[in-house]
Every structure is written in structure tokens, then in C-alpha cells.
Symmetry: C2
Subunit: 267 residues, 2 copies
């Protein structure tokens, strides 16, 4: 009776620094598990290793695609500090290393003390209730994964699926779960790679855009409700591109930043 | 007779996946080795482990300060791929893990093939030759490290050292070496943390702004000549801030992006 995301990120300790988990079917794009889901799954194991502390900054390198089925995660707690516990992880499927990660886990709760400064604002979006889910906007590109998240794209950014890319490598929209599961640090690891690549609004073609590396900074605990998200690629060159993400909660607080390095689709 | 930076980043293989190096004096701020120098040093060992391939994306977690003296670096080659070699590293000094890093090493040479897109431009700076080095702008804050790099701040961003912060968390300037050592991927790892923190232009006080995590993406091989750099902090909250960097070469090509998560100075 749990929420789907919690079921899909369940991690069981099977020994010292050893965890077992199952990559769930349906969280994939063409058979390969979504990168945000994979980050949340490895992050769930690392969070256990960090005795329940939440990820503050986590980096994953994607070495091999993961398919539905068992994975084993080995963690190492490098440093147990007052403020952060630093943990590495190796996620294997069969004989193959699939993901390596490193992260610092601790308090990301927003403190009202100290210096505060914001140069930026959440993306303007149509009301959540009046927005269409990604799966319903007529895109040809509808991986199984889109049923697991409730992503509602800004109408100006969703034309790529109808052969009408906006011409600007930006992807804005709402993120939440279809079953009402609340937002937290793990959910934001998922959200960091849950939108169609911003580059689709240049190419107009939903090709694979493999992730080499993804880093997520959790900047505050989100308040309840869908997140306003924006993903942007500013530099596409030499066969690679970066994609930067920002997530904002219902208070208008920046709760998460992400950056990933991806390979440009071969056209 | 070598360049100072090459001397200071010399790494000697002492066994399988084992390297020895010396944190050189003079590359410090108040006795602690500069974070960019440390990244370049661990990156030099990882590059050897990757058989000379250059860093394309590298992430370091800073666990303990490093002082001048011996360090030992243990590497692990996780994946030897056609395009990238993925390597982890553990840098220890004495009994203590000081830095953990993970990176993908390969070709970052700019290809003229494929999709190319740029939404950004290099920062406008006064001519290099007419700019003053950081050490010469009258700042109270002059760590030993500033003699090792030739950083020339934009005059609008250098007032923090005279009690006149600009009020905008941006730090622009030129980066090169005083002895003419050329720019390359390792030099850009150094440059990613060689400027005064952008936050000094809000606080006006040169306090310590410790780095938790630093990720650098090398986006192209730089052409000869000083780099135009800009560092920006947009979100300061909950005791943390991000600092994003861009470096541009003499062609006007973006050659490097960096992002670090830092602790806000305690005031």
C-alpha cells in the first residue's frame, strides 16, 4: 500500500555496507532505468549508510545501463563528520559496475540564520491543475517512465513532441507524483532527471542523450506540493552538453540544483 | 627548470594504482593548500591512471585540509571505455583521507561535427596587459597562493579588498600563470578555485568559505593565452552557497564550467 516511488527505492541491508535492491519495471526509457530513478535508488542506500541523513550533494557516474531486476550496492562511509557524513557507493548488476556515486549527507533544512541572498526566481508556469501531463501532450516520445511521475510541461516547451521545438534549449514544468507521494530530498534526485532533455527543444527529435555524470545539490527541504522546475542547456559543443536544473517549492524557495554532462544525440 | 605548476603537480607512480606526490608550499591560503591546486594534483594522478587521457568531468569532496608535505594517492580504474576512462581517487596525508574524487577522462577536444549551440558569452574585461594582478589591487587578503597564479580581477569586482564590495556576487577576471605556463585541462582544474570567492562581493569580508564539493567540466582544449573567467553565486541560504564558474579562451570558446558547494562564512 506504499507509494510507488518508495516501493521502487526500497533498499535492504544484507551485510556491513552491503545493500540489495530491485530496479523496478516501469521506471525505464526503452528498457533502461531512468537516470534520476537510479540516482534515487543509489541515494537511498547511501542515506541508510549515512544513518538516515539526507543527501546534500551527490554525484553519480553512469557506467552501464540498468534493466529491471536485482542490484547490489556496496557503500563506504569515508567520513563521519559533525555536519556531514560522506559516503561512496558502487551499484552493480550481474557482473557489471553500473553506477558509482559519492555524496555528502546531512542537514539541508533551511536555516533562517546567517547570510541569505537570491538572484533568481522560479519559472512562471500555468496553474498546475490546468496543465496537461507530459504523456498527454501528444508527444511521440512516451517512455513507460512518464507514467511514474507527474510532469506537466510548460505548453511553450512541449511542442518538440509534435515536431515543433521551441528553438530554445529550455524545459520548464511541474514535478510531482501521480499517487500524491510528497516531495523530499530523494524525490528531488529523481526529479533532476525526469524531464525530457532541454536539447529536444533544439533538435525536435527525441533521441537518446546519455548522461555521463549528474550532480545534485539539495538546497532546502521542500514544502508540500508540486515543484516548479526548469532545465537549461547553454553550451552544446564537441559532442557534449551540460543541462542545469533548478527546482522551487510552493514558498518560492530554491530547493534543488542539478547539473549533468550528457552526450549530444547522434544525428 | 620546469614551470612551477608542473613542479607542484608532479605525481610519481610507486606501485599499482599507487602514487606519491608533494603538496608544495606556497600554494596555500593560511597554510591550507588551495582547493583548485588540490584538485589539479589529484587530477594529475587520475590522469596517469587513465593513461594520459585528460579530465572531462571530475568531482572532488574535500574531507580535511592539506598542508605542505607528502601525500599518497590511491586510484581505481572503474571503467576503461572507448570514449572515457572512469577513475576514482583517494588522497591521504598521514593517517587521514583528505580528498576523494571521481572523474571521466577522455577527449575534450572540440569537434566541429555535430550540433553546436551557445547561449552565453565571455565576460567583458579590460585588456589583460592593462589589468592589475590580484595581489596588486590593494586587498588586505593576500594569501601566498596569489603569487602562484596570475589572476587579474575586473576593477568593478576587486573593491572587496578595500571594503568596497560591489554588492553583486560575481567575480570576473583573467587567469594565467606568472611564468607563462600554458593553459590546459589541469590548469583549468586549478583555475576553477583560484579566484576570491564571489561572495566576497556581498560580504566585503575575506572569511573562509570552505568547499564541500567541486565539480569541473572541461568543455574544450583552450587555445594559448589567458582565460577570461567569471564566477557567480546566485543562491546563498541555509548556511550554504553554490559558486558557478565559466572559463573562455582567446577564440571566445567556453572551455570549462565549474560548480562548487561551499559553506557560508560565519559572521
Amino acid at each position: 500500500m506504499g507509494f510507488a516511488f518508495d516501493d521502487a527505492t526500497t533498499v535492504v541491508a544484507v551485510g556491513d555496507n552491503q545493500y540489495s535492491a530491485t530496479v523496478h519495471a516501469g521506471w525505464d526509457i526503452g528498457g533502461n532505468a531512468n537516470g534520476g530513478y537510479v540516482l534515487a535508488l543509489v541515494g537511498a542506500a547511501m542515506r541508510q549508510a549515512a544513518q538516515g541523513r539526507d543527501p546534500v550533494t551527490i554525484t553519480a557516474h553512469y557506467l552501464a545501463p540498468l534493466t529491471a531486476g536485482l542490484v547490489e550496492i556496496t557503500t563506504e562511509t569515508i567520513k563521519l563528520g559533525k555536519r556531514f557524513t560522506t559516503v561512496t557507493a558502487n551499484m552493480r548488476q550481474g557482473e557489471r559496475d553500473a553506477v558509482r556515486a559519492i555524496g555528502a549527507f546531512g542537514e539541508c533544512a533551511m536555516s533562517s540564520d546567517g547570510l541569505s541572498h537570491t538572484a533568481g526566481e522560479p519559472p512562471a508556469l500555468p496553474d498546475f491543475a490546468e496543465s496537461a501531463r507530459w504523456m498527454a501532450v501528444g508527444a511521440d516520445f512516451q517512455p513507460a517512465f512518464v507514467e511514474r511521475v507527474d510532469v506537466r510541461l510548460h505548453p511553450e516547451d512541449s511542442g518538440f513532441g509534435r515536431g515543433q521545438p521551441s528553438g530554445t534549449a529550455v524545459m520548464r514544468g511541474w514535478f510531482s507524483f501521480p499517487d500524491g507521494r510528497s516531495m523530499d530530498a530523494l524525490a528531488m534526485l529523481l526529479a533532476a532527471d525526469s524531464f525530457p532533455p532541454a536539447i529536444f527543444n533544439l533538435t525536435g527529435t527525441p533521441d537518446r542523450v546519455p548522461t555521463i555524470e549528474l550532480t545534485v545539490h539539495v538546497r532546502a527541504q521542500p514544502t508540500p506540493g508540486p515543484l516548479r522546475c526548469v532545465f537549461t542547456s547553454r553550451f552544446v559543443q564537441g559532442g557534449m552538453l551540460e543541462e542545469d536544473g533548478e527546482m522551487w517549492d510552493s514558498r518560492g524557495v530554491l530547493v534543488c540544483q542539478s547539473r549533468q554532462l550528457r552526450l549530444v544525440p547522434r544525428t
